[in-house]
């Protein structure tokens, strides 16, 4: 699952020269999609154009798939230009109230946190090789989009919309796409859909 963030009435971060995060991530998504498809993955996007599905709508698309991984793409308005960071969701409380085989929607990420961390670290390490100054391991943040996603889920944020020339960001797209595709490919053999209380998904 590829999620170009924002869209529609929500432009996301806005930079110099009218740059909009919502437009840039759509271009990034196209390149990530090609890179993933070249590795043999089937790719679904949460949006193809200038729409703005809700957080829950985006998660719903991912949660309807079995064995999916979820990557939401962002361009920051801060940070060292030319770097990229991967975020995984902060640890959520254990699901003590989950009915057998069901995951509470607002904590759908809970059973996948370890997998998300592994995927995030793999992709971040590959991004760090390509973009000097990027962290070596995934960071943790309470990213809203990730919380309701029932799949290994990461947010990739590239810095930033404050670059003077949009071409500086465009030049990063192939490296970001390769890192994500290679990371997902490396992650694939270790991906076993976790057992939810009372059964499997």
């Amino acid at each position: 699952m590829l999620d170009p963030a924002h869209g529609g009435t929500d432009p996301g971060a806005r930079g110099t020269g009218g740059m909009r995060e919502s437009e840039i991530v759509l271009d990034f998504a196209a390149q990530v999609r090609r890179a993933l498809e070249s590795q043999g993955f089937q790719v679904i996007q949460t949006r193809q154009g200038n729409q703005n599905p809700s957080f829950d709508d985006r998660s719903a698309i991912a949660n309807a798939q079995n064995g999916a991984v979820f990557v939401t793409l962002h361009i920051a308005s801060t940070g060292l230009p030319g770097t990229a960071r991967v975020y995984v969701n902060t640890d959520l409380p254990a699901m003590t109230d989950a009915a057998a085989g069901l995951i509470p929607w607002d904590r759908a990420q809970t059973p996948f946190q370890a997998l998300s961390r592994r995927l995030g670290d793999l992709v971040q390490a590959l991004l760090a090789q390509r973009f000097k100054g990027s962290p070596s391991a995934a960071q943790t943040a309470a990213v809203r989009q990730l919380r309701t996603t029932a799949a290994p889920a990461i947010a990739v944020e590239v810095s930033s919309v404050v670059v003077e020339d949009r071409a500086d960001l465009d030049r990063m797209a192939p490296g970001v796409a390769d890192a994500i595709a290679a990371g997902v490919a490396e992650f694939r053999p270790s991906y076993v859909v976790p057992t939810i209380a009372g059964g499997t998904r």
Binding site: S77, G79, D91, L92, A142
Partner: protein
């Protein structure tokens, strides 16, 4: 018209001119002042009203720790020391340190919170959960992005943790309302863990302990015994 009445009329006109010459600049200054006051944002006006925190001047000045951006552009925070007459009351001292944080560092480039943002209210529940209600500027003027939004919340959480031990969790409201995200990314529906030593934390995912950042100065660290990358860790359940 007799000369006598003509002279009286001329004198009256001269007097009117003199009064006008004196009064008009005053009127103009008042109009300019009124226009200037109108230009002040509601947030600024609110700041003036809300920042007057009753503090006993007899309170000893203590070294408060405030966390602003490191300026490296990598999403890290640095600790700054400010001598404040911190109240012994945890709610008042929380307001003091947060208002100082909002006022910003000397170098405005190191701000973590928008200059127009105002702390409207602060409550501390018996279970250690702090509820900080900020003005809309916190949501509308924080730069959109995971890193920048996390930095804003981290600076609030770490400043509270360092100065007000009774605060264990933090819930952020915007203008009295619960909102989904801070500026489009960071989840504000839950609470953020502030004092990890005092709170029983839900078991972490096994692979979640990999260090993401250096302890101490990174935004991902709250306490030395806590895995980096978990600062202001969000929780869903109180």
């Amino acid at each position: 018209m007799t000369p006598r009445w003509r002279n009286r009329l001329l004198a009256a006109l001269a007097l009117a001119v003199i009064v006008g010459a004196i009064y008009l600049p005053i009127l103009r200054r008042r109009l300019q002042l009124a226009a200037k006051l109108q230009q002040q944002t509601t947030e600024q006006a609110r700041r003036e009203l809300t920042q007057a925190i009753p503090v006993n001047p007899g309170e000893p000045r203590v070294k408060a720790k405030l966390f602003w951006a490191s300026g490296n552009g990598d999403g890290t925070l640095v600790e700054s020391i400010a001598e404040l007459p911190l109240s012994s009351d945890p709610v008042l001292s929380s307001k003091q340190v947060l208002n100082t944080l909002l006022a910003g560092p000397v170098n405005s480039d190191l701000r973590t919170l928008p200059p127009d943002a105002v702390l409207l209210a602060f409550y501390l529940l018996p279970n250690g959960t702090a509820i900080a209600d900020f003005s809309e500027a916190l949501a509308t003027a924080t730069p959109s992005g995971i890193q920048s939004e996390q930095l804003a919340v981290d600076s609030i959480a770490r400043t509270l943790e360092a100065n007000v031990p009774k605060v264990q969790r933090l819930k952020i409201l915007i203008h009295g309302q619960e909102v989904e995200t801070l500026a489009g990314h960071l989840d504000l529906m839950g609470t953020f863990l502030v004092n990890t030593k005092a709170v029983q934390v839900a078991p972490a995912a096994p692979a979640a302990a990999a260090p993401a950042t250096k302890p101490g100065l990174r935004s991902g660290t709250l306490t030395p015994d806590k895995g980096p990358g978990k600062l202001a860790q969000a929780e869903r359940n109180l």
